[in-house]
């Protein structure tokens, strides 16, 4: 499991054994059961998540309905908004499957960054990359129809469609579960 983390980090910086050990000594690794809520609306946290195995999702409860807006799977990083802006969270985070995560609070971040300035560089590279990527995803969302978005997801993240309940996928695609059902039927019909 450690190697997944180190492989990920090695895309940005190279770590010495000393640094690796410092990182491991923080006790980052956590097993989390399916359904566990990691963060609730209104709560504050300092924890960021890195998914080693499994899947977590971000969702809102609007008019009593769950609206899932993001999924994070293997090798994805999630720093909640409330960690950045110090305000209560606008959304929930929960486990879609039994998962293994690294959970790092900002104290650890501060400690690692002061000992090893490299980590700051990595965090900068990572967040710049994620920002630019998310910009592209957002643009794609704006410029495509629900059907195109579904077909696109089928291409880019086919695993998600298998491992995640349809009604969560629907709001992720910006539509209602019934519309997703219909849209899928429509696509099947076209193929035949």
């Amino acid at each position: 499991m450690e190697n997944i983390l180190f492989d990920f980090i090695s895309k940005y910086i190279s770590l010495s054994e000393v640094e690796k050990n410092a990182l491991l000594s923080l006790g980052l690794f956590h097993s989390v059961k399916k359904g566990t809520v990691l963060l609730k609306e209104g709560q504050k946290t300092q924890d960021s998540f890195f998914v080693l195995k499994g899947c977590i999702r971000v969702y809102y409860i609007i008019d009593g309905e769950e609206k899932t807006t993001a999924f994070y799977t293997e090798m994805d990083v999630l720093t909640p908004h409330c960690v950045i802006n110090k305000a209560p969270s606008e959304y929930f985070i929960s486990c879609v499957e039994d998962s293994i995560l690294t959970v790092s609070n900002s104290d650890m971040g501060v400690e690692m960054n002061s000992k090893f300035p490299k980590f700051d560089i990595m965090c900068r590279m990572l967040s710049e990359e994620l920002l630019a990527k998310q910009r592209i995803d957002f643009d794609k969302f704006k410029t495509t129809s629900p059907e195109q978005r579904y077909l696109n997801l089928l291409q880019k993240r086919p695993d998600l469609i298998q491992r995640v309940p349809q009604h969560q996928l629907a709001s992720y695609l910006g539509i209602k579960p019934q519309s997703l059902s219909r849209l899928r039927a429509r696509i099947l019909e076209k193929k035949s």
Copy 2:
């Protein structure tokens, strides 16, 4: 004009006179005429933009049609995707109004960062903040209807509705210009 930039930076780090002068010596400031295209699809660039005055937009040309997906106004920062991933740009960037920008290429960034490590910290803080903010914007987009999105924009960025052509606003809201027109008429009718 320099003070706008320094005020912005001071939200993240404090600069000495030496550092301020080093920054000014880079010759960052540029006046750009309305309509100027700063980046074309397929091009590569190392330039990032900070808007001191005016407005720039990101757009795609899909099936011969312009699709505007983002506007950057006073105090906004835009680092194109192609600066991060070194691939040709997927989108265009152009000036909506006569604008004053700072344009900084990554060589300057490298130079400033090596002389003054503080800048790295600032860049990290900034991109983390923008990433989290954009996540919220994206979520809001997914969970609201075009009409709600328009009303929301009216609240959050009323200036945009004044200074930007409707057809660009429409695709920014994820709809066609005709739908925006109709939607506005619908809202006016409700009020009366």
